[in-house]
Symmetry: C2
Subunit: 243 residues, 2 copies
């Protein structure tokens, strides 16, 4: 039998839809189903979705997505690692996706299947992203003066009891400096994060040693700035990309 890259049936009987679905699951193909369905989910949370015309996507890695005609996020889903299977119940196509740890189950009941397609997609795909926190870190390691003149990075991801400091180093007075990096404008959470690291360093280094905390990000919100001031922490404006 010839393996076509794409197999599709428009307005199939439920029996045909089930055949195509099972063949797609067996052959580890990317599968889409257009149809009128309802969805039940139970797991970390629980949800119920009433009848409607939607797009369901099944992936060979065990992902299932239920998309309506709006929103970037699927209205219901199951993450990679799930087991998919289809059944006919009262003439309706049931698509079930289950996993354990945690126990989760998603059931899609199709009243009507308008189209089912299976596709031999490309596996590995290496998307190259720039403008990340790693780019910001590399920018600083290349030119530490961007933080402040005399700053000398000593370690990245330096461990403390509160977690890893993005960049740990010293200033021109040889004081310890903890630098927390954010690729975009930050709110209070980032300040708290930096503060946890500075506190942890304070109880782990020699007590008399000064520890400075510097938040490096393109900008901060007002509330984050207040929190920086209150904590005696500093802010340096810097973006991942040289502008």
């Amino acid at each position: 039998m010839t393996e076509q890259r794409l197999q599709a049936r428009t307005a199939p009987t439920t029996e045909t839809a089930l055949e195509v679905l099972e063949a797609g699951i067996d052959a580890e193909r990317l599968t889409t189903i257009f149809g009128r369905c309802r969805v039940e989910y139970d797991g970390r949370a629980a949800s119920s979705l009433d009848w409607g015309h939607r797009l369901v996507v099944l992936k060979p890695d065990g992902t299932i997505l239920v998309h309506t005609d709006s929103g970037q996020k699927p209205v219901n889903w199951q993450p990679p690692g799930c087991t998919h299977d289809g059944h006919l119940v009262d003439g309706q196509l049931h698509v079930r996706s289950v996993r354990s740890t945690p126990d989760e189950e998603l059931l899609v009941v199709f009243e009507q299947v308008d189209q089912i397609s299976t596709y031999d997609g490309t596996g590995e795909s290496d998307v190259v992203v720039t403008g990340t926190e790693a780019d910001l870190r590399d920018r600083i390691l290349d030119d530490p003066d961007l933080v402040e003149p005399g700053f000398e990075p000593r370690a990245t991801e330096r461990d403390t009891s509160a977690g890893a400091v993005d960049i740990y180093g010293t200033d021109s007075d040889d004081s310890a400096v903890a630098v927390e990096l954010k690729r975009r404008r930050v709110g209070p959470d980032a300040v708290s994060q930096l503060n946890r690291y500075v506190e942890a360093l304070g109880s782990e280094l020699h007590a008399e040693r000064t520890i400075r905390g510097i938040l490096v990000a393109p900008s901060v919100t007002d509330r984050a700035q207040e929190l920086l001031d209150r904590r005696g922490l500093e802010f340096v404006s810097l973006s991942p990309d040289p502008e």
Copy 2:
């Protein structure tokens, strides 16, 4: 012309694919394209994705998703509110999606289209989710003793200079209590969040008044527990769903 719920072409010419795409965009239909494509993105970050066989989904609200055969998240996307359009360039189908604030652009170049389908999906869909933080809050408001005997909620989302406290109330000694709710097991970030609220209340209420902070969640990590101890904050184990 009859409006079919589903329109599809398998192995179309690029010209036909463009026609179907433009008709789908015009008619605000959910559109899927299977084909071999590459993707360029530039906006908040930037990325490049090499050639591969993928599924592209366009929604009438301006969302576009590029899915490979693995992963729950699209490998590239554009959020709702974008403007889509298609063009033929050197015989290849280009699908472009742009928006402003922030300026972002996504370009999908198809070397080959294996199938294009447009679908009249259902608009509004009211998914009912349970097991959320709101359920946990309601559980406590129904029976405040779940936090501790004598706890009396006074306000939800009570504003402070550091943000809104999930539940603000008093204990049996009439001390102020700030309760932070989490629907699942929490790490250090939730403790810092609670701590910010407790500190803010400390500087906003009468200075001599005791302010307790209680984190309510199913469980906490070791590091979060250490942080709770260090900050003098408390933890009460409770789930959104009565088990």
